[in-house]
């Protein structure tokens, strides 16, 4: 039953690679945007918030199409990146990672923004009276105190990136060995006669990866919470 074909192994490896890359790329942006939305007030904040949440509410096919238009080799951003840096997204795993990152971003952002909002600002005031400037305060006080919530954001983002389907297939198609992640491989199996066994195998793998991630994050999160709680 669990004799994976080489293509399936490739899809599993690719899924993990794409999800890790997507999470790592989204994280710094989500931390910056989450902090800005939680703490700063600036003109256009509501609009920015709306735009950042678009991938969550748009049909994934639309997000994929917009990525294709913007990041395709002929697109304004994709063309620039190809001409100047030689980076291609279309029909490459990098494109799958980009699609997953964009789709995962709003989920990470929500969790991270919330975690910054609940950090007690008086700890930051205390840090400043002890000589820590704004950047030092952010890294020594704010970020560690927000860590449990940031971890939740990472897990949500990773899970979303792992299962992303609509935007990925629209943007980079379904190419075995390059863009065919587990979700896309399952899709192929369901489209062909006799694909049931393969579907089940990959579905089980999906459950195992997702469950492992959630359990691991819960364990780390408990430790962090214990460390940062004000009360025993």
């Amino acid at each position: 039953m669990f004799d994976f074909t080489p293509d399936e192994w490739t899809a599993i490896g690719l899924s993990v690679k794409v999800a890790v890359a997507a999470t790592l790329c989204s994280l710094p942006v989500a931390i910056l945007a989450g902090y800005a939305l939680a703490r700063w007030s600036f003109p256009g904040k509501t609009l920015l918030n709306g735009v950042l949440h678009l991938p969550l509410v748009l049909p994934p096919v639309v997000t994929g199409y917009l990525l294709l238009v913007a990041f395709g080799r002929q697109g304004p951003i994709g063309g620039f990146l190809y001409d100047w840096l030689g980076i291609t997204f279309s029909f490459r795993w990098t494109g799958a990672a980009l699609a997953a990152a964009v789709m995962a971003f709003p989920l990470m952002l929500r969790a991270i923004r919330l975690s910054f909002e609940v950090v007690d600002r008086r700890f930051e005031f205390a840090a400043s009276t002890l000589g820590a400037g704004p950047v030092a305060t952010f890294f020594t006080v704010t970020l560690p105190l927000a860590a449990p919530g940031i971890l939740v954001g990472i897990i949500l983002g990773f899970a979303k990136a792992l299962g992303e389907f609509g935007a990925t297939i629209t943007f980079v198609s379904n190419i075995p060995g390059e863009t065919q992640t587990i979700a896309l491989a399952i899709h192929s199996y369901t489209q062909a006669p006799g694909g049931d066994a393969g579907t089940i195998r990959l579905a089980v793998v999906s459950v195992i990866i997702a469950l492992t991630a959630v359990i691991a994050s819960e364990a780390v999160s408990q430790r962090l919470l214990k460390r940062t709680s004000v009360f025993q």
Binding site: F125, A126, T129, L130, G131, A132, G133, L145, R227, V230
Partner: protein, 224 residues
Amino acid sequence: MSEPGILDVRCAVTLGAFDLDANFSAGPGITVLIGPSGAGKTTILHLVAGLMRPERGRIAIGGDVMADTDARMFVPPHRRRIGLVFQDAQLFPHLTVAQNLAFGGWFARHTNGLPREHVIDVLGIGGLLDRRPARLSGGEKGRVALARALLSSPRLLLMDEPLSGLEEEKRQTILPLIEMVRDEFGVPMLYVTHARDEAQRLANRIITIDRGRVVGSENLGEDR
């Protein structure tokens, strides 16, 4: 212009319906700001620490201008070298006591040479260094907060009702420590309280605040 004091404050802010216009100086030793709650004492501390900007006026420490609205000058809190002991300590929960004490040293560009071991001894917190703030009692938190502020090399120490959350018994054990800190380390303090007995016991000078104004000032002498 008169000789600059250790702290010269002449500034005003309006916060909703509350209007503060404070004008006073503080010398060496302990200057107590006393007044009913809501009088504006904590607001004054936040203005001096730089956690709040004055709308009008000037704040100077030892002649160094910290804020001057006429000159559009404002020194941010982390460059003022003013320690603040918060009412509820505000120890960093993710750091141990030892790390909390070291925190100020990570950023200090100056040192007033207060020896760490001596401060820890005087405040009796040597046995707490490995603990996290969650496992300290109220009195222990207060002592650690005082030590943390002292070790950040402040040239002025602000204390915001450091004893208000404590039982009478605890207050009586910490009061002598504050006197010891005053005598041992020579850091001038601006001490906020609403308790008359605390003020009488600690102060070199008592400044009474009511509804955002200085309504009285009493010198109790330099040697106490």
